[in-house]
């Protein structure tokens, strides 16, 4: 298979899955429709009928991790091509990546020392 044929197959697979889910939905519709009743459509909150919208400014306590993750995550963009040729290149590759990771690790250590690794 060429590359494009593979992607087409994957795309077709995804579309097929979506299609079969829709078939399932229409089957369920054929069995019956949802009856509109008071209270039924309010998000369940354990016996209390809380109607207030909750879409507010949410305090994500992990933003310290989040910031470091955004940066640190990029490391793997370089790591995969590196890993593939690692055996071929040998020691130089190890040293290269060692330096790269050591630099990034410094960043992690700095973040840790500044208290980024905690619930804010």
């Amino acid at each position: 298979m060429t590359l494009l044929e593979q992607y087409r197959l994957l795309l077709a697979l995804a579309i097929g899955v979506v299609g079969s889910v829709f078939c399932l939905y229409s089957l369920a519709r054929a069995i019956g429709l949802t009856r509109q009743e008071p209270g039924k459509d309010v998000p369940a909150s354990s016996g209390a009928l809380s109607r207030d919208p909750v879409w507010g400014r949410y305090h994500a306590r992990y933003y310290g991790y989040g910031l470091l993750f955004l940066a640190f995550d990029m490391e793997m963009a370089f790591m995969y091509p590196w890993a593939v040729v690692y055996k071929e290149v040998g020691l130089v590759a190890l040293l290269d990546m060692g330096v790269f990771l050591a630099i990034l690790f410094l960043g992690l250590l700095y973040g840790w020392s500044q208290g980024a690794f905690r619930r804010q």
């Binding site: 069995i31 016996g47 619930r119 804010q120």
Partner: protein
């Protein structure tokens, strides 16, 4: 067993011609998920094993098809049950085990006695009902008062004015604005409830409209050199400036009319008292480069209505700065909000946990104010607790002693033996009877057995809270076995009970999960029972777990040393009079009962239970905790909402 010829379920679905329906009905019958109200721990305390009866337990109404009500429900729980039932997808049915149907629900589909046998039979009938009647031609509609938003009308300036009808405020003459009645006014007249939904739509409509107005306003404020006449106009407008605030969210303050970003309600005018500094901040040169792109809009389009409100609102003339920049100022939204520990001001949410929440004892309503997934404050109330009139006046009715004992025991479904014993002891003391060695031993045996069962119930609840399925299964099985075991059987179960402790000690993650959660040092005076005893050893949830496990072992030893456990029954007391005050160490701590006996009848009594005190610890325990930790801290108190006396 005989079946009624045709059982229909009240929550059936509308029938549509479909070949699949027969098959689907069968599948539904075989896959009954039941939501237990008030909670699975009550079912276990009554010795009901739902899984063995052939249903699966669901933790949310969304995944349940049977609403199973165990025992009597209080009035407040009736409302909660109606909400839960409404939120279950059809087909759904109601199963009542040992109680009455709450008035908020349609009649029970199946009722059963409070026994495993009754439950099993009921489930068989339910399955049949689902197989036959999951789809009917015209299903009953379900509706209850509690499901409707009540609209009330308040004066934005005088919050104490609350009317049922639209109109104007008797104090200031402003138009009253509509709002959904909150939980703060539960006894509010239901007159307008049926307009609830319609009203919402109207609102939405208005609100779109208002957006337009806001848009035009925006253009007004652009400092655009091409439109110098607009500039003048702006000044004219500013002189008439007032603050606009949302009647429901006082933290929303705007310089222009519009709608509340949180609820979409119209903002109402109010006198701006102290926003000088803040709007100074928000103003300035920011809008200098705000080019007006609105030539095609009529610049004079703002509604007379808005101006009308200004006049009513009583604005402050002059001295107002250029505060109204073109867009809504975020600074103004956030400036009055409380800050979290890290200095960010986010929206706080008030979220109900309970009364039927899988991680908390049923009947306990915990309302947490959440900042992200952290708790800033919390409040616990019991919706199931008994209410005792404490007045000791002459007019209070005399209660027959046996009735009194039964009443007390059934009112506390999580510890019936303890309270039965408490009542017996108090009455006997009032009657002046002396202790009798054999009876005391048997009674103590019963009490200790209940302690074991109760602690096992708590362990199962802990497992539910922690998603620790093994613990829940193991502890529930053991609880069901211990509940009515005799000495011989208890001796058989002893190795299993001890193993449970060792297994828990070896479970990874458990210690890190429980350590330092819900710390209560011994300086709290209100602590009783396991809480007080654990306070000396760290006083966190981890210490409480081990305290309860140690008590299970200790109780086993006590039972071994005493005689056969028995249900306490009252000895013959005759027609004596007197007063008695006794304390019994129930599984949750010392309960105290003092009563006055007159001619063999209970004249008046006073009950003091551990949970009434423990529930007051909740706000302190949850404050500043992560959500899961806060719930765990509340759970580790082992509150029984029934034993909270108000």
């Amino acid at each position: 067993m005989s079946f009624d010829s045709a059982i229909n379920i009240t929550g059936a679905r509308q029938k549509r011609p479909s070949v699949l329906q027969k098959l689907v009905s069968r599948a539904l019958a075989r896959n009954l998920g039941c939501l237990i109200v008030p909670g699975p721990e009550i079912a276990l305390a009554h010795g009901l094993d739902v899984t063995a009866a052939g249903m699966r337990t669901s933790t949310t109404p969304r995944d349940a098809s049977v609403l199973m009500i165990v025992g009597e429900l209080s009035e407040k729980m009736g409302d909660a049950v109606a909400v839960l039932y409404a939120q279950m997808p059809r087909p759904r049915a109601i199963l009542i085990v040992g109680g009455q149907t709450p008035s908020t629900l349609p009649g029970a589909d199946i009722s059963a006695g409070l026994s495993q046998k009754g439950l099993t039979e009921a489930v068989v009938r339910l399955q049949r009902a689902f197989a036959d009647g999951a789809f009917v031609a015209s299903p009953e509609a379900f509706d209850a008062d509690v499901l409707h938003a009540k609209i009330e009308y308040v004066c934005p300036m005088h919050p104490e004015i609350v009317e049922d009808e639209p109109g104007s405020c008797p104090k200031c003459g402003m138009d009253l604005v509509a709002r959904e009645a909150g939980e703060s006014t539960p006894d509010h007249d239901h007159e307008h409830q049926h307009h609830g939904h319609k009203h919402d739509h109207e609102h939405e409509h208005e609100h779109c409209h208002d957006q337009d107005h806001k848009g035009h306003h925006e253009h007004h404020h652009g400092h655009d050199h091409e439109h110098s006449n607009e500039h003048q106009q702006e000044h004219a407008h500013e002189n008439a400036a007032a603050e606009y605030t949302c009647p429901m969210h006082p933290e929303i303050v705007r310089d222009e009319p519009g709608s509340c970003p949180k609820c979409g309600m119209d903002l109402v005018a109010r006198e701006d008292a102290e926003d000088e500094g803040a709007s100074e901040e928000g103003s300035g040169h920011g809008h200098n480069h705000q080019h007006s792109e609105s030539d095609h809009h009529s610049e004079h389009e703002h509604s007379g209505h808005d101006h009308g409100e200004h006049d009513h609102g009583g604005h402050k003339h002059g001295g107002h700065d250029h505060g109204a920049s073109g867009f809504m100022s975020m600074i103004e939204v956030t400036k009055d909000l409380p800050r979290s520990a890290d200095g960010l001001q986010m929206d706080w949410l008030e979220v109900p946990f309970g009364p039927v929440f899988p991680g908390l004892p049923g009947g306990l309503k915990l309302t947490l104010t959440l900042d992200g997934d952290g708790v800033t404050e919390g409040q616990a109330t019991s919706l199931a607790g008994m209410t005792i009139e404490v007045e000791e006046g002459e007019e209070s009715e005399e209660i027959d002693v046996e009735t009194f004992i039964d009443h007390l025991a059934t009112a506390m479904p999580l510890a019936p033996v303890s309270y039965r014993l408490l009542a017996c002891l108090a009455i006997e003391q009032a009657a002046g009877l002396n202790d009798d060695q054999a009876t005391t031993q048997a009674r103590n045996g019963g009490l200790e057995r209940e302690r074991i069962a109760s602690h096992l119930g708590w362990l199962a609840q802990l497992g539910r809270q922690l998603g620790f399925a093994w613990l829940t299964q193991r502890a529930s099985t053991l609880q069901l076995q211990v509940r009515e075991a005799n000495r011989y059987r208890l001796a058989e179960l002893e190795p299993a009970l001890r193993t449970l402790g060792t297994r828990l000690g070896r479970t990874p993650l458990l210690k890190s999960r429980l350590k330092d959660i819900g710390e209560l040092s011994s300086e709290f005076s209100d602590l009783r029972g396991p809480l007080a005893r654990a306070a000396s050893e760290g006083g966190d949830a981890w210490a409480r777990l081990w305290q309860r496990l140690a008590e299970i072992t200790a109780s086993l030893d006590l039972i071994k040393a005493s005689s056969e456990p028995a249900l306490p029954s009252l000895r013959d007391i005759g027609d004596l009079s007197g007063t008695g005050e006794v304390t019994v160490d129930t599984p949750r701590g010392e309960a105290r009962l003092s009563l006055k006996l007159e001619r063999g009848k209970v004249k008046s009594y006073k009950l003091d239970t551990p949970c009434s005190h423990h529930i007051d610890l909740v706000p302190k325990l949850v404050e500043g905790q992560e959500l899961g930790d806060a719930l765990l801290a509340v759970g580790s108190l082992d509150l029984s909402p029934w034993e909270v006396i108000s």
